[in-house]
């Protein structure tokens, strides 16, 4: 098994992190929408939805920081398209490297400045301390606004990113999608 990237493609570390982050990111958006807009404001389920959202959000912060470090030390595979989309992809990928980190930090700021002072007990295992900020209703409102717009804005960018991946796969058929898939699928899809 190849862990590291090379000029042609991604190693298992990049692939594993990408899909783990993709799944948790999408789950975080769904949880965020459910807890703030679908579930009743005061309910046992809502309380736990918030706690899971915080736990998985911080896990995502950790995974995304790990990926950022990995991308910085790793070879970047060459773009396979050969047309103008390489620049767009480069910009989007750079944004998507930082976005989950910024969103999660904004979320962490919400819970840190909230006058409710609800502890973050990640996965009911680890107490994650609040950031040393001054709590207040106004600060909480502002942090929520930043968190919300970053999250939904990024969801739109991710939708574009997914659409682009599907176009590479089904329109241009250039192998961009397959080289991000788990290795077994890659060999099955490519030359066998």
């Amino acid at each position: 098994m190849r862990l590291r990237n090379d000029r042609e493609g991604y190693g298992s570390v990049s692939i594993g992190l990408h899909w783990l982050i993709a799944i948790v990111f999408l789950a975080e958006i769904l949880l965020g929408v459910a807890m703030t807009r679908i579930l009743p404001e005061t309910a046992v389920a809502t309380f736990w939805a918030y706690q899971w959202h915080k736990s998985f959000g911080l896990l995502l912060l950790f995974l995304s920081a790990l990926r950022l470090v990995w991308v910085l030390v790793e070879t970047r595979p060459v773009d396979l398209t050969g047309h103008g989309s390489a620049l767009a992809a480069g910009v989007v990928h750079r944004y998507l490297l930082f976005a989950p980190i910024l969103i999660a930090l904004a979320g962490w700021i919400i819970v840190s400045v909230s006058p409710l002072a609800i502890p973050t007990f990640a996965f009911n295992l680890v107490v994650v301390p609040h950031l040393p900020l001054v709590p207040g209703d106004e600060a909480e409102r502002r942090a929520i606004a930043v968190h919300r717009w970053l999250a939904y804005g990024t969801a739109i960018i991710v939708a574009i990113h997914i659409a682009a991946a599907l176009m590479h796969q089904f329109l241009w058929r250039d192998g961009t999608m397959t080289r991000m898939l788990p290795r077994r699928r890659q060999s099955a899809g490519n030359d066998r």
């Binding site: 005061t42 309910a43 046992v44 309380f47 006058p115 409710l116 502890p119 007990f121 107490v127 301390p129």
Partner: protein
């Protein structure tokens, strides 16, 4: 015979009687103190719930009623009745108050009273007693003990400090554990007036 009284109440409360005890601050005999009292509105019903990492939620209940029957012949058969209205909860945070009133915790729309009915009173010292009884909340009942200490007396009045730990889970109110402790700590200052 000079007897020393202490009584108590609230979501706890009681009385006690130590025939040989000497408690220089409270020179009231049980015979003098015996009778029926009601809990006055200026009593303080405070509670707190610890949270992981330190701190917690603290608040009080503003609306409650209660009576205390101090039995001179047998203080252990004194009776405490206390009702508190969870709608009146306040923690200083509207959102937390709303959550506590909601179906997730007290469900005040369906259960407007949390009650305590004493079963017996055990003297533990010259000024102290344990009141054992039943707490009922959200249609569920569980036994509970409250520690009572006589803290003052005046003409027609007795003051008590009442403390006790109540588990939330027997009442289906354990939402938030283990982030928030299952234990609610009550610390009450009761002003009782002779009826």
């Amino acid at each position: 015979m000079r007897a020393w009284v202490i009584g108590a109440m609230a979501v706890a409360g009681a009385t006690l009687y130590g025939p040989t005890a000497v408690s220089p601050s409270f020179a009231i005999t049980l015979e003098e103190a015996a009778g029926s009292y009601r809990v006055a509105d200026n009593s303080q019903i405070r509670f707190s719930v610890d949270q992981v990492g330190g701190g917690g939620i603290a608040g009080q209940f503003a609306t409650f009623t209660g009576t205390l029957q101090l039995n001179a012949a047998d203080p252990s058969r004194s009776v405490v009745v206390f009702d508190l209205y969870p709608e009146s909860v306040s923690t200083g945070q509207q959102r937390i108050d709303d959550f506590l009133r909601s179906a997730a915790v007290f469900d005040t729309a369906h259960y407007d009273v949390v009650s305590f009915r004493s079963i017996d009173v055990r003297l533990t010292g010259p000024d102290t007693a344990v009141v054992h009884g039943i707490v009922t909340a959200r249609g569920k009942s569980a036994e509970a003990d409250f520690d009572v200490a006589l803290t003052g007396e005046g003409p027609g009045s007795l003051q008590f400090r009442v403390t006790g730990d109540i588990m939330r889970s027997p009442f289906g109110m354990e939402v938030g554990t283990p982030i928030y402790s299952n234990v609610v700590r009550f610390d009450m200052q009761l002003e009782t007036m002779r009826r």
